[in-house]
């Protein structure tokens, strides 16, 4: 019999194991680790949302829904997106409810890419972009964003990567792992470039509610969706979901907003692979959109408080770290200690029992930094930061 390894599809084989997975295995099984390595809220989904999911089950809502998702949910999404991003989508034809943004990302790639088509995206970035493109037979073309520029994506750097095979520009602001928010002036330049070169934009805006003031206050910062810029709605696939701001990661619920033709193409794959997102999650999401903003704001303020603490402590330790405008990550620059990201993370784990994720897990551009997630209780953060301080003082 032919070895099983040889039966794995080439495309799948070509994808490297996630660096996160390797690190996870190191962390697992250790006691007393304070993990700043997670990528999800420490808050439980608010009770009124959980209660709506329970009620949905109690009422016997256990069937499939429309492939696109419950119309009542899509109507809520449409309203919410208008308010949040200042761009309006038709709930009947332009919104598709997916199993997390991850599924939506996969659908976009499969729906829009032909073999060899190039997709430009910015690194350091969420670990799924590159594999999602590769699995759809596209060619991933990373653009590096730099710590010196506060991880802003420069239009000129995008321009340098555009070829006649470029089809899509993928954006993720606020960014996981850096927390960077793209300034609107730069976003406008990028939009111009996209239109000139007749590209489509896939914009993953999953962290778009978690915004902070640069000055260490608690007020919500600014974020502009590229979809809202003139001439961009018709060429943008806006991806969003409930995981981060509503603390609903396990509900696995996201959505895409895109012109009808693109939504249809994505829906075609979705209906044959996923059929629909789970109905209880959809019902919970309706509750989240109708009544969830107060709890969301409470969580955002808690993150803001923690963000200010972490920033202050890194500054006191002499660890350079730019003040991220969004998400719940810090991406401190650890190059001055003369260790690679992996060495730093590994030694921090072994010597002080604090887990952070090596920056290179998010692409080469992340080397020299580590990702520290501050979605953990203030008290735990204080202990973790004391441990980090003691670690760096020995380096």
């Amino acid at each position: 019999m032919k070895p099983l390894e040889e039966r794995i599809a080439k495309q799948v084989k070509s994808i490297p194991r996630s660096g996160i997975r390797d690190f996870f295995e190191l962390v697992q099984g250790r006691d007393d680790v304070i993990s700043l390595g997670v990528g999800e809220p420490d808050f439980c989904a608010p009770w009124h949302i959980r209660e709506a999911a329970i009620f949905s089950l109690e009422q016997g809502h256990t069937s499939y829904t429309s492939n696109l998702g419950l119309l009542s949910l899509r109507e809520c999404i449409s309203k919410y997106v208008t308010k949040q991003f200042d761009v309006t989508y038709d709930p009947k034809t332009e919104i598709l409810v997916t199993v997390g943004v991850s599924e939506a990302l996969d659908l976009v790639c499969r729906a829009l890419l032909n073999p060899g088509d190039e997709v430009i995206y910015h690194e350091p970035c969420y670990v799924s972009y590159n594999p999602s493109i590769a699995l759809a037979y596209g060619v991933a073309v990373p653009v590096q964003t730099k710590v010196e520029d506060n991880f802003v994506l420069k239009a000129e750097d995008v321009a340098a990567k555009i070829t006649d095979k470029t089809r899509i520009l993928m954006l993720n602001f606020p960014t996981n792992p850096t927390g960077a928010v793209e300034p609107v002036e730069e976003l406008e330049k990028i939009a111009k470039l996209v239109i000139e070169n007749d590209l489509l934009v896939v914009s993953d805006e999953i962290y778009s509610e978690l915004l902070y003031n640069g000055d260490g206050g608690f007020e919500r910062g600014e974020h502009v969706s590229i979809a809202s810029l003139p001439g961009m709605k018709e060429r943008t696939i806006l991806l969003h979901g409930f995981s981060k701001a509503f603390a609903m990661t396990g509900f696995r619920l996201g959505y895409s907003c895109a012109p009808h033709v693109l939504t249809e193409a994505m829906m075609k794959i979705h209906q044959y692979s996923m059929l629909c997102a789970p109905i209880m999650s959809q019902n919970a999401a309706i509750e989240a959109l109708k009544h969830g903003e107060e709890e969301m704001e409470k969580m955002r303020r808690a993150y803001a408080r923690r963000r200010n603490l972490v920033l202050k402590r890194f500054e006191e330790m002499g660890v350079p770290c730019f003040a991220p405008g969004g998400a719940f990550y810090m991406f401190p620059d650890i190059r001055k200690f003369g260790l690679s990201s992996s060495e730093f993370a590994l030694r921090l784990l072994e010597e002080e029992n604090v887990a952070v994720v090596p920056g290179n897990a998010f692409g080469e551009a992340g080397e020299g930094c580590v990702r520290a997630c501050y979605a953990t209780s203030y008290e735990k953060l204080e202990v973790a930061l004391d441990r980090i301080a003691s670690f760096v003082s020995r380096l």
Binding site: S18, I20, F23, F24, V27, Q28, V33, S35, G37, V38, G39, E40, D42, C44, Y126, V127, S128, N176, G216, G217, F218, R305, N308, L309, K312, A355, V357, A361, Y378
Partner: protein, 159 residues
């Protein structure tokens, strides 16, 4: 000020320095705000919220509905303040609805509470009637869930 009140209600043990850090204020600003809260009588006191079952405290607590005759001057205030002065009374609220005062009384045992109600409370002039309900079990108290067992179930490292 609202943010400080919110913070105090969730954890009153924080030092002034910690409060300043969390609220992005200076230590002297926080001290001034705290002084204002104390001087205005907004802060009544600080105490730990204890689930008595966990410390083997045998004392009992009763919730008493009290009906009163309002006085010509001052309505219920005088009598309510008089009732509140008893050490056995831990809380006292004026209520809308079927009765006037909700009085929470603590005692060493059932008999002590009963004695307080029959000898002190119900004999006060102006008290028309009382209905005593003994507390059996605590599920939530002052915003804290008893037996809140929600552990962090997140995987240690995720993208």
């Amino acid at each position: 000020m609202d943010a400080l009140v919110e913070l105090l209600q969730s954890d009153a043990r924080l030092s002034v320095e910690q409060m300043a850090e969390r609220l992005g204020k200076s230590v002297s600003e926080i001290e001034q705000m705290l002084a204002e809260l104390r001087d205005s009588g907004a802060i009544l006191g600080f105490h730990a919220v204890i689930d008595r079952d966990k410390v083997d405290d045998k004392r009992v607590s009763a919730f008493i509905e009290v009906k009163l005759t309002p006085e010509r001057d001052g309505g219920f205030d005088k009598l309510a303040q008089r009732i509140s002065k008893f050490d056995q009374v831990s809380s006292c609220f004026l209520m809308s609805g079927g009765y006037d005062l909700a009085v929470i009384v603590e005692g060493e045992d059932l008999r002590e509470v009963a004695r307080f109600v029959t000898e002190k409370l119900s004999t006060l002039e102006g008290v028309l009637s009382t209905a005593t309900h003994f507390q059996l079990k605590v599920y939530k108290q002052s915003g804290f869930l008893a037996s809140d067992t929600h552990a962090d179930e997140r995987l240690a490292v995720t993208p």
